[in-house]
Symmetry: C2
Subunit: 143 residues, 2 copies
């Protein structure tokens, strides 16, 4: 989560919503790390999670990440929750809960749907305070 937080801070410094994501393998090696790049790429789908998942799979030349952990500073939205399932991530760890935009413990609860083909183990609220504080500070500065 330290690295995910660093990616989130770097995203904030670029004017992006501060969310960071890291994919690690079973040995704890970092396969990919990314921050939000929505503004930089002009791409609303350039969420940290999707970028990190794609980079991790590309780096291993294996499109499934069943032995891997996706660690992200914010509860993933429905797009990223479903992407974690499509990449068959073994475990999803996230920091702040997102009642407004989250799609794991809130909203569409994508991974809980009966039709979800692969459900990662989910651990939410990890270093929640630090992760949420980054987002609060970012949005407070913009108001």
């Amino acid at each position: 989560m330290d690295l995910a937080l660093a990616e989130a801070r770097a995203a904030a410094a670029r004017g992006e919503v501060p969310v960071g994501a890291v994919v690690t393998d079973a040995a704890g090696r970092v396969l990919a790390a990314a921050g939000n790049e929505v503004e930089a790429r002009g791409d609303p789908s350039a969420h940290a999670e999707l970028l990190a998942l794609r980079a991790a799979a590309a780096g291993r030349a294996n499109k499934f990440l069943g032995d891997c952990i996706l660690t992200v500073t914010l509860e993933p939205c429905p797009m990223c929750a479903q992407a974690a399932s499509l990449f068959r991530i073994g475990r999803l760890v996230f920091g702040a809960y997102d009642p407004k935009g989250g799609g794991v413990e809130h909203g569409a609860r994508v991974l809980a749907a009966a039709s979800c083909h692969h459900r990662p183990e989910v651990v939410g609220g990890v270093r929640e305070g630090e992760c949420a504080a980054l987002l609060r500070a970012f949005f407070a500065a913009r108001r």
Copy 2:
């Protein structure tokens, strides 16, 4: 839908699950068209919809597509449904319904969640028979 079906057929010819997607603007101009590229890219998130949305926004240098229609041969999964919302697509038109993997009229029903910030108008079942026949033929040939 003709162009989306052509993209789906081209995807099948490449060994991809035959799904095609097209983004058109208010004047009916095609901004982007894509077929599934999951196998070719080794990227489980390389669904036709996400590729077409990204290409359409990049081509216009405008990350929102509120005046556009996303036409796809199959009901989008939760990832692509949420992506359509994030790109603020005006209307989503799809062909075959997907009770097993769909996320619009089935499963997580992403766009119906109270927390969904932008809901495109949705029209499902357009040329459903042709769209579904392509998928059935593809999977029958693989069994």
